[in-house]
């Protein structure tokens, strides 16, 4: 399931003029998108894990690249969303 408006924000942010405006000040750009309050909060706090459940993974990656998050930071955050390995069942 995709969240349309945050997907639209991420899609639009590929436009260099919008990306520049966004980096200069997010609030003005975010006000143009009818994001749900919890989704807007996740965008404002760079909550990669929360947003990863709402958008296409490529758009997620493009957005954080555009927003200026260093690649290593993004990799660390997205990898942390992996489900923990199942613990071994006890035998005996």
């Amino acid at each position: 399931m995709r969240d349309y408006w945050v997907s639209k924000l991420f899609f639009d942010s590929q436009s260099p003029p919008l990306a520049e405006e966004y980096r200069a000040g997010r609030k003005k750009v975010l006000d143009r998108y009818p994001l749900k309050p919890e989704v807007r909060a996740a965008v404002e706090s760079d909550d990669v894990a929360y947003l990863s459940a709402l958008v296409n993974p490529y758009l997620l990656r493009f957005y954080f690249l555009t927003a200026g998050m260093p690649e290593e930071d993004f990799l660390r955050r997205i990898r942390a969303t992996a489900a923990p390995p199942a613990t071994k069942a006890a035998h005996g």
Binding site: Y4, K8, Q14, N56, P57, Y58, L60, L75, I78, R79
Partner: protein, 275 residues
């Protein structure tokens, strides 16, 4: 009647360009020689037009209108919009209108339902292979976009059938024309997922063996089982499957396979045995 002059595949990972300066010399050599060999083979086949099969990386389409497959029927298409591809030497790429229209007609006659676009922006999926193979001047192209990025994807079998149809369209084209097909993307990679950066080398090597052996049924069965676990970028192997269909499943010759962590991609290059 046109002639299918060659069928090829190449990876197109953005980091081939974006991260070029950070790649190890051996990795640069590997990619350079692979693209160069591919370019040599394309030139040797003397095509006059090129059908390029690649995904759209959220450039032309969005989730409010996302075609499974789109054929570019314009007289010209725009060059790559990615800011990091400014060095790509073409802002406009010439389309082959007559061939594109014939492909669409053939598709409809054979019960396929392509969408069409009269002006596409061709992103790195098209432009990195076109650039790095060094085929100059650029050939007029027919871009064919497969949705490899956002489910629901076209089925692997449907992609094979698309390739078969493309070969039939070339064969029935009214007029002499040498046409090559270039499928881009793959092999395994993972973008924006928890496994981002992982290359599934075991998948890639078995996938390559399936393409080499030819047998379309075995290839399709393998991909139906293993594609979902090889990273979201591996979905682009669908484009290679279409090339396989165009080559009538006759198997390909691997030019190079190199899993390069700094590119995030199991990089593959191949040409099919069509003679």
């Amino acid at each position: 009647m046109a002639e299918l002059a060659g069928v090829y595949a190449a990876s197109h990972g953005p980091m081939i360009v974006r991260n070029w300066e950070k790649l190890a010399p051996a990795e640069k050599d590997s990619l350079t020689s692979a693209f160069s060999e591919l370019g040599n083979r394309i030139r040797a086949a003397r095509p006059e037009a090129l059908i390029v099969i690649s995904p759209d990386h959220w450039v032309n389409f969005f989730i409010d209108n996302l075609p499974a497959i789109c054929v570019g029927v314009g007289e010209a298409h725009e060059g790559p919009p990615e800011p990091w591809l400014k060095a790509f030497p073409h802002r406009s790429l010439r389309g082959h209108l007559a061939l594109a229209e014939h492909i669409v007609r053939t598709a409809i006659e054979r019960d396929f339902e392509p969408s069409v676009s009269y002006r596409l922006a061709l992103d790195h999926g098209f432009c990195i292979p076109l650039w790095k193979t060094g085929v100059d001047p650029l050939l007029p192209i027919v871009p064919v976009l497969f949705n490899d990025l956002e489910p629901p994807y076209p089925s692997v079998r449907r992609c094979f059938d698309w390739g078969t149809m493309l070969a039939a369209a070339v064969a029935s084209y009214p007029g002499y024309l040498r046409v090559a097909i270039l499928a881009t993307g793959g092999l395994s990679h993972s973008i924006g997922e928890p496994t981002m950066g992982r290359i599934d080398e075991a998948f890639d090597r078995e996938c390559i063996r399936c393409f080499e052996r030819g047998n379309p049924h075995a290839l399709i069965d393998f991909l139906n089982e293993r594609l979902p676990g090889a990273g979201n970028g591996a979905s682009e192997v669908r484009n290679w499957v279409a090339a396989h269909g165009a080559a009538r499943g006759r198997g390909f010759e691997l030019i190079r396979y190199d899993p390069i962590p700094d590119v995030y991609v199991g990089c593959g290059f191949a040409s099919w045995n069509i003679s």
